[in-house]
């Protein structure tokens, strides 16, 4: 039974690993369909809760997959699901890293690298917008977002201090 579930976890996540260009969030709809509708490892409500936890906990978003594996088959499930989700793409990344180094003096590498920099910055800004949009907060909350930007750019204040401060404001009912 458990072996069967572990095998299913591999069959669900290993293929997704290779198509998840941009990360786990890109294949989230597929994960939801497989985990809730096809295999019934989680209910819809459990899925939403684990998603919220994976977003909130410090760590990569792939943590969601670990939690799903854990729900399906305990610790073995968590480990197997995580490795199935990260393993295949990690092998691809390793091969890419070696190729990238082999071609380090190739004339096309410099322009390719330099050309990717502005795209990368735009994508991170887009992620910021998505995160900001998902937060339900007060106008003061947007002020805190703006203040965070200024403090992070201008000072060496540790962001965890800002998070603690904002959490306190939220507990007091102001955010």
């Amino acid at each position: 039974m458990t072996v069967r579930v572990l095998l299913d976890l591999i069959l669900v996540f290993a293929p997704l690993s290779l198509v998840a260009v941009g990360g786990v969030m890109v294949v989230l709809p597929d994960i939801h369909r497989q985990v809730v509708e096809v295999h019934g490892w989680l209910t819809d409500a459990q899925f939403a809760d684990l998603f919220a936890l994976a977003r909130a906990a410090p760590g990569p978003n792939v943590l969601l997959v670990s939690l799903i594996g854990w729900q399906a088959a305990g610790w073995a499930g968590a480990l197997v699901a995580t490795l199935a989700m990260c393993g295949p793409s990690a092998v691809v990344a390793y091969v890419a890293a070696r190729l990238w180094r082999r071609f380090r003096d190739a004339p096309w590498r410099r322009p390719v690298q330099a050309g990717m920099v502005p795209i990368s910055a735009g994508l991170v800004l887009a992620t910021a917008l998505v995160v900001a949009g998902a937060v339900e907060t007060t106008p003061l909350g947007y002020l805190v977002v703006a203040l965070t930007v200024v403090l992070v750019l201008r000072t060496r204040l540790h962001p965890l201090l800002l998070m603690a401060g904002a959490a306190a404001l939220a507990l007091a009912g102001w955010l």
Binding site: A114, M116, A121, L125, A132, V145, P159, L171
Partner: protein
Amino acid sequence: MPRQPAAEAASVSPRVSLAALFGCFVEITFSSFGGAVAWAYRVLVEKRRWLTAREFAELWSLGQALPGPNIVNVAIFIGARYHGALGALVAFTGLILAPLVVWVPLGALYGQVGQLDAVRAVLRGVAVVAAGLLLATGLKMAQPARRDPRALIITALAFVGVGVLHWPLLVVLLLLAPVSIALVGRQAS
């Protein structure tokens, strides 16, 4: 003794031990509230100085163009750069398996306390700052190209495509990368 790709590593930090590699990604993963990119930048560029801002942006975009979680790909690149396959494995372990051990048990707990108002309030506070942190990181990553109006336009297009129009990342990359390499990259070389 692992191979040392001196030509690539020399610009920043030439010697990084396996223990330092492991510690670095454990540190990144356990501080990654609200997305790993901001914390990866903070640790790799500002704190440990293993990468310059430009190198970070280059690695990050490369990681983004490949399948799989972005921060995992970056960990593989950096691990491989300093210690080959073993380094990649060590970085991966620090990044993924360390938090697994800590957070999976908390998943069970969350089922019980996740609905509490206090827990939700704290998470809301964290998310607000995380959004600001991500914005600041995006602005820092745009810094190396700030004097080039064409680069700024590319940044804006990537932002609008993914953040506003919600186009698939792959589509945006396939559309913008050739343009950016031709306009921005050629000039830089």
